[in-house]
Amino acid sequence: MWLRIQRLNQWRFVLTSKDCSTSVSAVCVPQLHTSSTEPASSSCDGLYPGHIHTTPIQKALLAVGSGVAALRDPYRHDMVAVLGEATGHFALINLRDKMKNDPEGYTILTERPRIRLSTIDVANMASLPEGSFGREYIRFLDDNHVTPDSRADVKFVDDEELAYVMLRYREVHDLMHTLLGMPTNMLGEVAVKWFEAAQTGLPMCAFGAVLGPLRLNASRLQTLVTSLGPWALRNGLRARFVLNIFYERRWEQSLEDLRQELNIEPPPVILSAANKTST
């Protein structure tokens, strides 16, 4: 039995043609709820709510600046997000095409589901049987003290559909953690980044995968290099494309079953979520 997915009207989407980037005033939708950082009556001159037009020079500057900022303070998720947006144009096109060529991915592009606390039924999912995907996801959120609502909005992608692909990638990141069994400490994040770099080819993932290990201490670096890293890379390359799964319809599916379907091996090392402060 499928779960009903509640669609947020915030993204009233029109499947525009490929030239939508040239039409500035194309999609101008009043937001039903405003995020806390933006003034309520912000000028609606972008392709989607929260869109900010940037010149190529600004994108380059943003990429450099956000890269430096993210390196200095890896917990600045907004900088990692901006880096992804500023550098990910070609990779996003590739991802969008992969989604379009797959039936389940195409459904996602059409229906545009969102993973937020307001769209997922947390109580229901927590009551699902142990070992089911939904139950494990809720456990992951609790153990690591994270919430799906803390994802930054997409701002600098100049195409409405690509912006959704980026947003979907961001929202699915936590589900990656659940699938791979990785916590949100530095080691877990780097492992997930290796997996995502192999899967998506986003420059930001590659950047995080290469430079993230620099912040690990010796023992964790060793774990990464000897077991976690190769496992993540191997699975990233052979697994089914993760953005083509309609996760919202699979909460009741068992986690092991989903892993087998996606061709992902269980993690070689069990990492606990407790040690988050020290890298």
Binding site: P39, I52, T55, Q58, L62, S66, A69, M79
Partner: protein
């Protein structure tokens, strides 16, 4: 209380010219809301029809103050770091120049409007302190071989020189909070006070201050002429009005470079350091909407100041305007 009643009467006279009737009950309610510090949009019907600029956007006047408040609430924590990053540290030179032109003497009373994080006030207190030290040293040196004048001065009773005081006034509580934290960490507390207030309606009596400064704040005020009139009101006769503000660059080459830097780099720096693109977009746009040096000089003269002059700093990127209340 007297000040607010006088304010109220002045407003009533101003508005009666515009044919708006004030009821007694309304006046009583407004006296409560006009008193003190918060922005008071009491006479909303008239104001809502008028619109003003918020950067390159057009907004109703009533909304501008709210949006400006939000901008500075968002940027307050990173305000000083951003100033250093955006101006490459040059803003410190501009503020030092303001103090040098001001040349305050011990005993001066400063009102630093839109003072926010307190940069001008800290410099003011430092300058006064160094002036006092210099005077003490001079006195110590000369008392080695006192002149006849000094000996006769020592006989006369000298009254206590008045303590210099700096009042930091800002409409935004977040900015004042950051300023207070800075003061605590610097260990500065004597002669410094922090007041929440609107530049268009200052919570001070007439003829109170020797010097009124407003550094990089006046372009955010909705009614600049009102702020200038308030400045005239609270200054003592002989008091000086000083304003640092971004202005027009006349050199065409420098202007091109400045525009490119403003619009390409500054919002990016805002996003990377403060995580807020839009506030810094507003900042660079609001600079373009502000009147140029001559126009602003005219506005200051219209408000009733004399001997108004301006100094261009960094090729006109910043202008320091100065006027006297006589």
């Amino acid at each position: 209380m007297a000040a607010s009643m006088r304010l109220l009467v002045r407003r009533a006279i101003r508005l009666s010219h515009k044919n708006i009737t004030l009821t007694a009950a309304g006046a009583a309610a407004r006296s409560d809301c006009c008193r003190g510090s918060l922005v008071c949009r009491c006479f909303s019907d008239e104001a809502e029809d008028r619109s003003t600029h918020f950067g390159f956007e057009t907004v109703p006047e009533t909304e501008k103050a709210k949006r400006v408040y939000k901008v500075f609430e968002n940027v307050a924590q990173k305000y000083d770091i951003m100033n250093d990053a955006m101006s490459l540290g040059i803003h410190r030179m501009w503020k030092d120049t303001l103090l040098h032109v001001m040349h305050p003497q011990p005993g001066a009373q400063l009102l630093d409007v839109a003072g926010g994080t307190g940069d001008i006030s800290f410099r003011f207190l430092d300058y006064i302190r160094s002036q006092e030290e210099r005077q003490k040293r001079r006195v110590a040196r000369s008392s080695q071989t006192p002149s006849w004048r000094d000996i006769s001065n020592n006989y006369s009773t000298q009254d206590e020189p008045r303590e210099s005081r700096a009042v930091v006034c800002d409409i935004n509580k977040e900015m004042l909070k950051v300023g207070k934290q800075k003061a605590d960490s610097l260990g500065v507390s004597a002669g410094l006070s922090w007041v929440v207030g609107d530049a268009e309606e200052l919570p001070f009596d007439d003829d109170q201050f020797d010097i009124y400064t407003i550094a990089f704040g006046i372009r955010n005020v909705t009614h600049i002429d009102q702020a200038l009139q308030e400045a005239l009101r609270v200054l003592k006769p002989g008091g000086r009005f000083m304003c640092l503000e971004f202005s027009k660059v006349n050199n065409p080459i420098l202007s091109r470079i400045y525009d490119a830097y403003s619009f390409q780099m500054i919002p990016v720096i805002g996003e990377v350091i403060a995580g807020d693109w839009k506030s810094y977009q507003y900042l660079v746009e609001s600079i373009r909407k502000f009147p140029n040096q001559e126009e602003f000089k005219g506005m200051i003269e219209d408000a009733g100041f004399y001997c108004v002059k301006y100094y261009n700093l960094t090729g006109g990127v910043v202008a320091l305007h100065s006027g006297f209340k006589l």
